[in-house]
């Protein structure tokens, strides 16, 4: 399909179309002084001047908390009821290529040895409309991990900002093409206006992903003195994992009264000290740097060893939110230069 033009004033038409049918239109918007992906009902709620939203949009497919079952106890017995996800058409407008690439990463995990329909059904019902990056900051490192600021992976429709503030639109997938067909009155056939230049984050010369993967693979290096050296300052919060578009760990917890309650699927973080705490009291990751090591190994060794998708997409959120500024790219450089 050829490129079309999505004028900014036509966005309301698109939003109306999606939300009128019971769908969810998610776009960058301002919330408590930061730009985040959130549901909008009109274009004037949207933000267009942002680098990458503070949250990742995984929360629309993989909510921070959701019930998966309900239970109650009676004299007569126990009742169990499954709670099914109820996916609605979800448009993610203004995604960045890094976030779009992360959909495939999450899908790899959630369809690995078991299909987690709570994730897949929601993602299946989503249309990802990515806007290529025209700005970035020092935390952006997508190009270092092989994602491009105008990359198409994971997007259904790729948009580019024009100098006049509109967007050119190009369908990337069948799903994207049929979405553009369905809402064709929002898209114009003739493309006018120049596309803005794409922002290219600097490729970090000192990083060698191949070398990192090899080094991590060697079991000897698991207890390398480099780990405490680089990660001693980690304070063990979950800000990095919860902001990360590819972190996917969750915990199942039961909540309620003695007589009834629900089982919930909640985000969990490998940075928490009780993440690996055994019932015996033993904790194989007994200090913080070992938990940080796990996150790093997950991204660059465990994950790539299992799946062909990316463990890290270079969005830079973990760097931006870290209260102690533990910069993952600095560790990538450190490991790359180990002789």
């Amino acid at each position: 399909m050829d490129k079309r033009l999505l004028k900014r004033e036509r966005l309301d038409r698109l939003i109306d179309g999606v939300t009128r049918g019971g769908g969810l239109f998610v776009a960058p918007r301002l919330d408590a002084r930061r730009v985040v992906y959130g549901p909008v009902t009109a274009a004037d709620e949207m933000e267009f001047d942002y680098i990458v939203p503070g949250n990742s949009f995984k929360e629309f497919f993989f909510p921070r908390t959701e019930p998966v079952a309900r239970f109650s106890f009676h004299k007569q017995g126990t009742e169990l009821e499954e709670v099914r996800p109820e996916p609605v058409e979800t448009v993610i407008f203004g995604s960045r290529p890094c976030d779009a690439a992360s959909c495939a990463s999450l899908r790899s995990v959630f369809t690995w040895d078991f299909v987690d329909e709570y994730y897949t059904e929601r993602e299946d019902a989503a249309v990802v409309m990515t806007v290529a990056c025209t700005q970035g900051d020092e935390s952006c490192f997508c190009t270092t991990v092989g994602v491009a600021p105008d990359g198409r992976d994971g997007s259904d429709i790729l948009l580019r900002e024009t100098e006049g503030g509109d967007f050119t639109a190009e369908a990337v997938t069948e799903k994207g093409a049929s979405f553009m067909e369905r809402y064709k009155d929002a898209f114009e056939a003739t493309v006018e206006g120049r596309e803005k230049e794409v922002f290219q984050p600097e490729i970090l010369d000192g990083v060698d992903l191949e070398r990192i993967a090899q080094w991590l693979k060697d079991k000897e290096h698991y207890s390398s003195p480099l780990w405490p050296e680089v990660a001693r300052k980690c304070i063990g919060c979950g800000a990095c994992t919860f902001s990360c578009p590819t972190c996917h760990c969750f915990d199942l917890v039961d909540e309620g009264t003695f007589f009834e309650g629900e089982r919930r699927k909640n985000w969990d973080s490998c940075q928490f000290d009780y993440f690996t705490l055994h019932a015996s009291g033993h904790n194989p990751r007994d200090t913080q740097y070992k938990r940080w090591r796990n996150r790093f190994m997950c991204k660059f060794h465990i994950y790539p060893g299992k799946f062909s998708t990316k463990g890290c997409v270079g969005c830079g959120r973990c760097i931006r939110v870290c209260p102690v500024r533990l910069d993952i790219t600095e560790v990538m450089e450190e490991i790359s230069k180990v002789p």
Binding site: D31, A32, R33, R34, G54, R64, T65, E138, P228, R232, K233, I235, G236, C237, G238, A239, T241, F242, S243, D251, V253, E255, R264, N266, W267, S269, F272, Y274, D286, T287, Q288, Y289, R320, V321, P323, V324, R325, L326, D327, T329, E330, E333
Partner: protein, 297 residues
Amino acid sequence: MEDKLRQKARELLSSGEVQVVIGYGWNRRKTRTTPVFITRPEDTDRLVFNPLCVNNLSVYLTRKYPDIKAMGRPAVVAKGCDIKNIAVMVSEGQLKREDVYIIGVTCGGVVYRQELWQGELKPGIMPVKCHNCDVRNPHIADVVIGEKTDFAPPEEPTGMVFDKIAEIDGMTPAERFAFWNEHFSRCIKCYACRQVCSLCYCERCITDKNMPQWIESSAHPRGNFAWNLIRAMHLTGRCTFCGECERACPVNIPLNIINQKMSLVVKDAFGYCAGYDPDEHPPMIVFSENDKEDFIK
């Protein structure tokens, strides 16, 4: 100032008086500062001090870090506001005063968040605590580095935090609930507030105890209220307003408002301000027959 700081750190490490200096260093691009742990005299040149040094490094003195404790006796680079936390830790028996060497640094204020820095410290980018700071010259230290400042804080505390407290005090209970519900609903339970806080030193936080599960760990409004309120209660009379929790919060929950409100309540009821005297116990952990009772209704 940095020369003197480095020199002092070198002396301390060379003489063996301390085995590690916990301080601030640059990141690779020299755009942000980050905690550093210096163990060799020749590495002391990595130490820096400037308005980007926002972290309260006293968190590394808590028992949450057995690996740091195992490094030996620490020296810590601390601003007056960070030292307040050390004072509370000493008063609560978490630390003996002699177990840490405090390298106090005089401070002209820091930035609220490092990303606001554009090469110059302007009042607009400083947190409320700096505008009301009475410890720019460190009040407890083994050595003080830097020029003495003659900054005097305003008689009555001023700034956005205090304006907001007054505004919330004037709200009806329903409005207050709505205010906090809106902010707490953003909470993702990453516990950055707890982890960055040196007074949240429990090895097992109440929210992580699951036999029974006292606090719902789900990040839904009920669970978020439970968590944020219990943390505020546990810091009551202990919080020194270092502001680290609000700075660390990735979803911008105004935690300074709630913690500072509790501090004002304690000040009013017990005449106590946390962080000044390491020999005085915070009022919520002691029993005194002289306590006022007029607030019990």
